[in-house]
Amino acid sequence: MTTTTAPKPAPEGSASLRELLQTNDAKRRRTDVTMRVLITAAFVLAMLPLLSLTYTVVSQGIGRLDGYFLMNSMRGVFGGMDAGGIYHAIVGTLQITLFAALISVPIGLLTAIYLVEYGGGKPLAKTVTFLVDVMTGIPSIVAGLFAYALFALLLGPGAKFGFIGSVALSVLMIPVVIRSSEEMLRLVPNELREASLALGVPRWLTILKVVLRTSVAGLTTGVMLAIARVIGETAPLLLTVGVIDSINFNLFEGRMMTLPVYVYRQYAQGLVPCSADDAACIPDINIQRAWAAALTLFLIVMLLNLIGRLVTRWFAPKIR
């Protein structure tokens, strides 16, 4: 039936059907428009702080972020000097986070394997799940206090070095790794496990070569998210690792600087009182350094995410 022709006198039956099919439900249309507007508004509202944050960090931090800033520490830098950098903080953050991951990933992954492959509703599995849920909610400062107290017991009070920070971060990281790995392992279809077992493959090889291999992409994403979660932690590191102005590569001795703590320290120092005749003095140098360090942290997390995505792409099961 064409719609362009002038309305022919339609038979009685089709006219009533036409009316039924054309029902103009004004209420439904209003609800539709309202919900559309609300959903779009919620999306915009969620995006606004994100875009604003990105813009602010980039615009404020880009000015001071250069090779010199990345390659130098704060040793011997004082007042409004146009100098100083974050090399020591980058070293600290990368080492401490790497060690936290080295502790958390094996523990977290093995726990997740236990829960999914061996737990099967046993009381121990239920207890572990409950404790993991509790651990997820631990405030980061409490994790810091825990690590501090643990090492105070072992080494005497006042011990501060990078590895304690790694332990504190791993307390925060382990539940995240367990949770995400558990979800990923559960996504592996049971049929694949059975297919492998039915071929006469022992259980441990089935888990290693079928279950883990199939879910490696998701596991990587989970670990990356967990790292992103802890790399910006400030409070526990301030407590367990302390602050320092010079470079320290040794995770097991002496204080270390980390990026979040560096940002906090610089910002807390605030404006520098410059005398009028000192042209080299920059009053807001500390603030500038804080923003540039924040931007660096931002970029490191982005880089990690990018690597995670690439790993995901390399290992994802291919369809064709």
Binding site: L199, V201, P317, I319
Partner: protein
């Protein structure tokens, strides 16, 4: 070579629930035995006890004996992993490994077990197994493509190739055609007819024409009601089962008056 299976007084449990009771049967070598019966009557459960896949499910256990050539598979010194290498299995839904290519899927039984195999031996085994599963001509040009890119029927034949690549004595098939179209089903049935010269084959099917077409012996399982264990009602030559079964229940089921 193909082997004979004797099942004696077999009871199968899921926890405290008795799923299958008192099964006694002999499965002849180099022949096809079909299991038929209504859903939930324990055919698949029983099939899975024949290669100890049953105990993969938590809480599942078995009483009685399943003897292959006189060796009880449930003896105390028997390794279930070794049993599964002797008694292969094909599942209802095709389940090729998604992370592996077609060739890797065929070699999965060897590769996943960390067994070393030279490249040429591997290639020979891939060709031999895929030819054995009537799939070689369709996939020989794309052995390095993922197995999940094949059609459902091809995937199922890939799974059969994977199962026969570990050179089992017995091949169990759990409704291998239920997810396939009639053409693919025909291909699998032709394959079963070829494979029975070398293997003892046990197939679970819901399709009675299929049981009649492919099998020498047919076993009928039934269940008295919900919560009751499934039982083996009758096992006999397929021709006899479909023409003049001894039990009324079998006749009712086969003629479609029930179930």
């Amino acid at each position: 070579m193909a082997q004979r299976i004797d099942v004696k007084d077999l009871n199968i449990f899921y926890g405290s629930f008795k799923a299958v009771a008192d099964v006694n049967m002999t499965i002849e070598p180099r022949s096809v035995t079909a299991f038929i019966g209504p859903s939930g009557c324990g055919k698949s459960t029983f099939l899975r006890t024949l290669n100890r896949m049953h105990e993969v499910i938590p809480g599942a256990r078995v009483e009685g004996t399943v003897a292959v050539e006189g060796v009880d598979l449930y003896g105390s010194e028997i390794d279930p992993v070794a049993v599964r290498r002797q008694v292969g299995m094909v599942f209802q839904r095709p389940n090729p490994f998604p992370t592996m290519s077609i060739a890797e899927n065929v070699l999965a039984g060897i590769r996943l077990n960390n067994r070393k195999m030279s490249k040429s031996e591997g290639q020979d085994l891939v060709e031999q197994s895929l030819r054995g599963a009537n799939l070689w001509n369709e996939v020989k040009d794309r052995l390095d493509r993922p197995g999940s890119g094949l059609s459902g029927g091809q995937q199922q034949r890939l799974c059969i190739a994977r199962a026969i690549a570990v050179k089992p004595q017995v091949l169990l098939m759990d409704e291998p055609c239920s997810a396939l179209d009639p053409i693919s089903t025909l291909a699998i049935e032709d394959l079963i007819a070829e494979l029975k010269s070398q293997y003892t084959i046990v197939i679970v099917t819901h399709n009675m024409q299929q049981a009649a077409r492919v099998s020498e012996k047919t076993a009928f399982f039934n269940i008295a009601g919900t919560g009751q264990p499934g039982r083996l009602i009758e096992i006999d030559d397929t021709a006899t089962m479909f023409s003049s079964p001894k039990e009324q229940a079998t006749e009712d089921y086969i003629s479609g008056r029930f179930g």
